[in-house]
């Protein structure tokens, strides 16, 4: 990593590092938070980080296929968000809580 004066343009590996940071933040939110909607949003953050990786590699290899994969990831994320939020609504209707620690009647 260059530690001199800031270059006029940034190498693509910096974009990949940013993608790794965002992915790590998503994993952190997924493991640490107890509200089920926030857990779901951390999953969306992970998907966004992966999209950034795809588009960066599409730039490096000068092909459009990375954009296509990113497009499909967005579509699948939309479908998953719809069904996941419907499940969350049903869970809330039945248990009146949104904390994942309290939805544990099947434990032990």
């Amino acid at each position: 990593m260059p530690f001199g004066p800031l270059p006029a343009a940034v190498p693509p590996s910096w974009y990949l590092t940013l993608s790794a940071i965002l992915f790590a933040l998503g994993v952190l939110g997924f493991l640490l938070r107890r509200n089920i909607i926030t857990v779901f949003m951390s999953i969306e953050l992970m998907l966004n980080a992966v999209n950034l990786s795809f588009v960066t590699f599409s730039y490096v290899l000068k092909r459009v296929d990375g954009h296509i994969f990113s497009f499909f990831v967005m579509v699948v994320a939309a479908a998953e968000a719809a069904v996941g939020l419907a499940i969350i609504l049903t869970v809330f209707k039945n248990r009146q809580t949104l904390e994942i620690d309290e939805v544990s009647t099947l434990k032990n």
Binding site: M1, L6, P7, A8, A9, V10, P11, P12, S13, W14, Y15, L16, T17, L18, A20, I21, L22, L25, G26, L28, G29, L32, R33, N35, I37, T38, M41, S42, E44, L45, N48, L52, V55, S58, Y59, V60, K62, R63, V64, D65, H67, I68, S70, F71, F72, M74, V75, A77, A78, A79, A81, V83, L85, A86, I88, L89, T90, F92, T97, L98
Partner: protein, 166 residues
């Protein structure tokens, strides 16, 4: 100029990401996620992905996140109580994460094949015409399968979320 733009939008993305994990109320987390998506859309523009940047704003920030915001407002569950983190996690968690990220950055920098820096306008193949051509010739089967997938998701969401008719 490209480096300054990258720094600004990367900083916005990371700060909004940290805000997402740290905030207690889900609405603040949702709006931070919208901020992340906006910053990422600007980064896609720098990388030459103009259609993907627009799709990110229209689909992700403008539809999916609005769905999240609706559900949070409808359920109105309130802020989360802050849990007690065990001392092992509190004192080792953040430093270990930084070490892990530093190692990832080092290996990415070392293994990456040498390539030119990211300049706005160097990649012209991300236009709507190029994506359309690729989507309807090479990737036609996944395209049709995703339309069926969306149909299944719509039916599933409607069945799960409707009121029970007694």
């Amino acid at each position: 100029m490209d480096a300054i733009l990258f720094m600004i939008f990367a900083a916005i993305a990371v700060i909004c990401g940290i805000n997402l994990v740290v905030q207690t109320h889900p609405i603040s987390s949702a709006l931070s996620l919208v901020g992340v998506m906006g910053a990422l859309a600007a980064l896609y523009l720098l990388l030459g992905g103009e259609f993907i940047a627009a799709a990110q704003l229209v689909v992700y920030a403008g539809a999916i996140m609005v769905l999240f915001v609706f559900v949070i407002m409808l359920l109105n569950a309130g802020a989360e109580k802050r849990p007690e983190i065990k001392p092992l996690g509190k004192y080792l968690g953040a430093p270990l994460l930084l070490v892990f990220l530093g190692m990832m950055a080092y290996w990415v920098e070392r293994l990456m094949p040498p390539s030119s820096p990211v300049v706005f306008g160097a990649f012209q193949g991300g236009t709507a015409a190029e994506i359309g051509r690729s989507l309807f010739t090479v990737y036609l089967l996944p395209f049709e399968v995703t339309s069926v997938l969306i149909l299944i998701a719509i039916i599933g969401a409607i069945v799960l979320a409707r009121k029970e008719v007694d």
